[in-house]
Amino acid sequence: MSKGISGLFTKKVSDFATPYTLGAAVRKGDLGTRLSLVVCGAGNMLHRQVGKGILFLLVEAAYIWFMIRSGIYNISMLPSLGWLEQEEVWNEAKGIFEYTAGHQSILILLYGVVTIFLTAMFVVFWRGCLKSAYKAQCLQAEGKHVPGLREDIRELFNSNLQKLLMTVPLLGIVAFTVLPLIFMISMAFTNYSKLGDHLVLFDWVGLANFKKVLSFSDSIGQTFWGVLGWTIVWAVCATAFNYILGMILAIVINRKGTRCKAFWRFCFMLSVAIPQFVSLLIIRTMFNQDGIVNMMLKQWGLISSSLPFFSNATWARIMVILINLWVGIPYTMMQATGILQNIPQELYESARVDGAGPVVTFFKITLPYMMFVMTPYLITQFTGNVNNFNVIYLLSGGNPTPVGSTAGKTDLLVTWLYKLTVDQQYYNLGAVIGILTFVVLAIVALVTYHNTGSYKDEEGFQ
């Protein structure tokens, strides 16, 4: 169903070339096929595919019914986003104030976006109908068998299995990922915000929000560059340390001399097994101003006053990176352990025969192998860390926050986004931050992902 969107990224793939194209259907179609331009399914009905034709027609009827009922109105409201304010009207007869229903811009925007979505889907569907009609026409003209509805359904389990299996997941993705995202992106171009009291009625403002966030003179803009800088530092540190230390841990546990391998793995795995938000909340409480760590350090006489774990900017930044190691190293260890055990032992044996020592085998065999397999993992870790809401929000909450600022010293772009939308209700600025986060990640991912072996050589493993 998301063909409309994903179609944007389609390149010409000769593997799936078909003679039944839209152009051919219009040029060479007979009466039935051309009738399908207006009446979906007409061509199929005229070419012995009655059941299919009726189904197509029903879909078209439903779409037209929807457009007449509300679709056209929804789209017509989209440019203005509504203007009618809710008003109090004195009702003489009842002797009370009554409220007239005003426009709600957010709903107008939502319904408008949904209508555009449905229309795009309908266009894809309409193209499909036309092609299907043309195909039926060609098959009949060539004297070949024209498959009926029952055969089409049977093919859903064989050559068209992807249609059967992918439709529901795609619908889910469209409804709960793509649609909300586009809805949210469109908010970035409006003044939907508590600022200036635009929570009920708002208007399109073009790129004004982007200018505001990216400018160096505005206070929001200054905050943005600071937060962006810290986000990148955080993501690089968190990813690199987790990867290196996790791999070292896996290798140390996996080396020949280490006893009770399973026990050590169990110890570290336990912290992964516990829900992350529970362990993070626990750790936050432990490192609180009056928490157990400060108390114990005081009792042992190591410090006289509490350490400012989360109240001093530098401390807080170092703490979140360290605690993220606690969370992340076991993950890397698990991943790396599986891969280490998968390295073909023949490689090591032949290396030993050739007289290679442990250091050489590590740099010549273990490391290249791990890098090859784990590069996609590293990229997902990096993007995961840029978007690592849990660790920051649960540990420091973005604090310490300078007075008057909307973002704290440990806030990442995502936690700042959360604060801007949920706490401050600056929905438009939040949407801009989201888009900019995406831009940062897209650049990183495009540069690295397309250079990795496992993307280029996807079929190499099979």
Binding site: T10, R255, M286, M295, N342
Partner: protein, 289 residues
């Protein structure tokens, strides 16, 4: 010759000892917070900020209170809410993830590459950037009030499952294609290959997918908070535990929080550790190199 052997032996002994000591120190560091919260859950000192590490007395009252004191925070109800939501979203997302992974790994069709690119692009957006938008969509669908909140949660947790196909696809990729081809030559349909050949060979990844999707609702508090808002009747465990640490509750509820944390962590950890082998296999592939 013998002497050299002995020195190698001592060196090995020393390095082994060092490794074990370091591992032990790290293990203590990793287990300390877990141990502390378990101690706290049995402690009689109610507040979080006590000077003692070892509680003065051990008690089961915190657990009892969690299930009996339902006046402020109704934990048993939250538990049931989460269980229901978790079971349904786990079923739906497992089905979705495995279907999409299989299609991506085994079938070749026109929209395959575009879909993979789209999925990669979508994962780059901050997950809950669309949170506010999702809330409005659910409201427009009439799912934001009353018992429908559970449906809304299930839909939110499983809706995007089709995008999480990377791990399972990687697993399916390692199952030799020759098996499929042989079956197809014998006249099997793609559906039969999927259900009769691929699925039975994929137990590790099925377990992995089931586990991760079952755990989602227990650990998410962001979406749950936005969708439930003030409807305390439909709170999930995660919101409940989160609230226990809020300023107005923490002094009285901290040990209950500890008890609740232990209670929900135990089943999840057991599930996780028992299936740990599957888990590692699922990440590294069915057929060992």
């Amino acid at each position: 010759m013998k002497k050299e052997g002995a020195s190698v032996k001592t060196r090995r002994f020393v390095s082994n000892t060092v490794v074990h000591i370091v591992l032990a120190a790290l293990a203590i560091l990793w287990l300390f917070p877990i141990f502390w919260v378990v101690m706290k859950s049995f402690s009689t000192d109610i507040g979080p900020y006590t000077t003692r590490f070892w509680p003065s007395e051990l008690t089961l009252n915190n657990y009892k209170r969690l299930f009996t004191d339902t006046t402020v925070l109704n934990f048993p109800r939250m538990f049931m809410n989460t269980l229901i939501v978790a079971i349904f979203s786990c079923l739906i997302s497992t089905f979705m993830t495995l279907s999409v992974s299989y299609c991506m790994s085994r079938l070749r069709f026109k929209l395959r590459k575009p879909f993979m690119n789209l999925a990669m692009i979508l994962t780059l957006f901050p997950g809950f950037m669309s949170m506010v938008a999702i809330y409005y969509i659910l409201r427009a669908l009439g799912l934001s009030e009353g018992a429908m909140i559970r449906v809304a949660l299930v839909m939110v947790y499983s809706g995007g499952a089709g995008l999480g196909f990377y791990v399972a696809k990687g697993f399916f990729d390692t199952i030799p294609k020759a098996l499929d081809e042989a079956a197809l030559l014998d006249g099997a349909t793609n559906w039969q290959v999927f259900t009769k050949i691929t699925m039975p060979l994929s137990k590790p990844i099925i377990v992995y997918t089931v586990l991760t999707s079952f755990m989602g609702p227990w650990t998410d508090f962001i979406f749950a908070k936005v969708i439930c808002r003030a409807n305390a009747d439909y709170y999930t465990v995660a919101i409940g535990l989160w609230r226990m640490l809020e300023k107005e509750y923490i002094t009285k509820w901290f040990t209950s929080f500890a008890a609740g944390a232990v209670l929900i962590s135990i089943p999840i950890s057991i599930l996780f550790l028992v299936t740990q082998k599957f888990y590692a296999d699922g990440l590294s592939g069915a057929v060992k190199g």
